[in-house]
Every structure is written in C-alpha cells, then in structure tokens.
Assembly symmetry: C2
Amino acid sequence: MASSGAYDKTVVNTVQRYGKERASYDYKTIHQIIDSTPVLHVSFNPAATTSDPFPAILPMIGCTGSFASPSADPAAGPLDLYIHGYVSSRLMKSPSTHPSGTPVAVAATLLDGLVLALTPNHHSCNFRSAIAFGYAVLVTEEKEKLYAMQLITDNMLPTRWANSRIPPTKAEMTSTSVLRVSISHASAKVRAGGPGEDRADLKDEELRKRVWTGVVPAWIQWGEPIPAEGNRVNEMPEYVEGWRNGENRDGRVGAYEAAMEK
Amino acid sequence: MASSGAYDKTVVNTVQRYGKERASYDYKTIHQIIDSTPVLHVSFNPAATTSDPFPAILPMIGCTGSFASPSADPAAGPLDLYIHGYVSSRLMKSPSTHPSGTPVAVAATLLDGLVLALTPNHHSCNFRSAIAFGYAVLVTEEKEKLYAMQLITDNMLPTRWANSRIPPTKAEMTSTSVLRVSISHASAKVRAGGPGEDRADLKDEELRKRVWTGVVPAWIQWGEPIPAEGNRVNEMPEYVEGWRNGENRDGRVGAYEAAMEK
C-alpha cells in the first residue's frame, strides 16, 4: 500500500508508453476516472474447462467505494471497486483463483476527442483511462451488498436509489450478484492537447495550407428521456434532468478544455 | 469456421446471460459494432516475468478488414481485426503465445442509454457490444501494414488518409506497429427497449405515480472542432463536418430507436 496519495508503481501497473508525460498513480485521478465511466471492461482468465487459451472480457457496471469507511475521501487512500452485473461462473471458477479471490484487470476509458495531425502517424485521441488490478470476491454479507447496490445506482444517477422502490425484496437480494475488487495496483493515463507534428511537415507550407489540423472534441451526450409505456409520472423529475444537463455540460466543457490544453 | 453468415458458437464465445434474447453471432452485426466503436479494449496474458497473476487490458484503436480481399462484404465471412497503437513487449512476449500468435480477447461496447425501472434491480443499460477472440501477430509485410494504417485512419474519419500527408516516411513505417488478429470466435450482445418490471411493482399504483420510468438515450457527441495552433486551413473541410454531423445524427437516432424498441 502506498504511504500517501498514490498507488505503488510496480511491474504490474507501470505505464510503459508515454509514462513520463501521461501516467498518474494518484488515488483521486484513478478513482474519478473509474466513477465517471458508465461501462467498465473486466478481464480475467476463465475456467480451464477446454483448451481455450483466451482471456475473457466483459462489459460491466461499477464504481469505487469503501464499506468499512463509506465517507472515505477518494484522494486519501486505496478503495475497493464494486461491480454489479451477471457474475459468470466462469469468473468465479477461474483456474487462477488466488486465496484472495479471482485476479481481474478492470479498464475505464473516457474518450475526449479525435486529434488530427498533418500526417496519419501523428493522429491520436484525447482520453482519460484507468486500469485497476485486484482480486474479485463475491459480496455475501447482506449489509455490504445493499451498500454496494445503492453506491452503484447513485453513482450512475445521484439519488435514484431513494427515488425508486427500495429496499430490494429477498428474492432480488439473492438474485443480484455484486463483486468486490480490492484494488492492489492501479494507474491512470491522460492525453490532452492538440496534435504533435513532424518537424519536416511543419516546414512544408503547401502541406499546411492543405491539411486541416486540430481536435474534434467528444463526450457522452444524454438525450431527452423517453418515458416507458407504463410510466405514470408526467413531469420529468428534477434529479434526472439536473443530472443529465450537468453531465452534458461537464462532458462538453471537459472535452473542450482537453482540446485546448497547451 | 461457420458455413454461412455467422461465427461458430462454441464454449469460448457463447453468451451465457440472456443469450437467447440478446446474443448474435452473425458476421455483419459483430463487424459493424467493432467498426463503430472508437476505442476497443484488448485483453491478454502478459509475460510471466513476475508472479503477477493478472491479465492485462489496454484501450486500443482498430477495425475489421481483409488484406487478401479488401472489398470483402462484412456480412459474408469472418474478417481480421487490425489494431493500431503501442504494442507492448508484454503483449508480444505473452507466455501463452501460441504458434498462431498471442491469444487476445477484444471488446467493443457502445452505450445507447440508461434504463430506469421502478426498482433499482431492474435498472439496466441499452448497449451494443461485441467480443472477438483470436491470435494476434505483428504485421511485418509493408503493403499489409500500409493497408491497415489507411483502413484504421479512414474507419475513424472517412477519406482522412487521402486528405493528409501520405505516404508515411520510412521512419514512420518502422516506428508504427500494427497487430492483426484473425478472429476465431466472436459474439455480439444487444439490449434495447424500455425497462422490465416486477409484477408486484406494476400493481402498485402509488409507486408508479411516484417513480419515473423510461430510458435516457446516450451517444457519443462530436463537438465543433478546435483548430491546432499551427493550423493554416481557415475553413473546416466538408469531409470532417459531414462525418461529424452524420455521426451525431446516427448516434442520436440510434439511441432513440433503441429506447423506443418494443
């Protein structure tokens, strides 16, 4: 465990490409990227029931938290990662299951823009990404499961938990699986700014007059909600509209700030 | 190899959760999802230089294609997946490297919306996702590398290759790595429509008058481009603006169609 502010840099999580300029290991950056990413990708080695040599990868929903210390500052120390969704038996019967759980790698990636340079080789993307490594275990204790279910629901849409039918029924509690990954290693990588260019290209005025260069900013846009057939609430609740408009504004502003970063 | 229209369903790629309703193995669906996803996630087992038990996962850029048959119909047969980006030595020195290459799993996920039900347990996301499995090898033949570089550039932004400084220099060709993954297994999973509900909840009129249900559609929005400091082209090229407006329109329309699907 790092002594302060950041995950330890080890052979597992050290960023190998542009590590100096773009990598970060600090708790806050990593936890924020994970919590801002609507869909995470979870990778693990499935049960060796066949000669199948492939790792598995699943899109799943989750966020960081601490059941022991729910109001923990995300900048102050390592957190757990709670993942909700169908927990395949392949995941929990992984052959590489360690006494501490199943080793998993979780990726969170946010695209901030497409970076267009004079030559295709200098094209790039602005992005924020985090990779967390740890051991996944099924949450079995009811209080912790409930904590994680609310955490994940409210991380997606703040206050939705309290604004829906709770608590879950006994059957719902049983049918829902939640995984806790104790993050042992993690890293973040952030790319922002305009294109880098080849020196020779920059001296070629004819080329520069012909090829547009810059950034096309990108973000997740949340559109006007579509009521379900069975919906009986005529007016959109403020906690939905406030969240949606805030996300759209923050997404747009963040993508433009990334594009204009020097 | 499947005889027609679809990847074979095997233990590697069979969708285990909601497979009947949501899974698809057909070439066209899978190739389209991969080619529409700006950032792919590539998972593999890194070199066993330590006692590290974790799979690796990297965000990378890529798309499907066929060097042998460049105009192949994506619905007609399996394709290769070309991936561009930094190829870590960890990937190419994987201990599980097979005579055919390094076994990788590649995920492509597109979020189409947030699905809000009466109770948190029935919350869901609308999404399109594809997972492809195959053996990754470094492309060494210059003509194939050039084919893949143009394919990936134009898949992101059509005609950008011809509208930038090409061909790459000798140094650029050497410094750029491209991986080819021959897709051996693949599957897609698509969720669309409004929320499913618990029967008891639907009978609870008080609850239904209190909790808004429906879908918040989501898509990737491409904003007004920001010229680079060194840009000398005053007017935005039509191939950039046409692409951007088309993507925004298709993203929005697709997310609304998914939200309203019965």
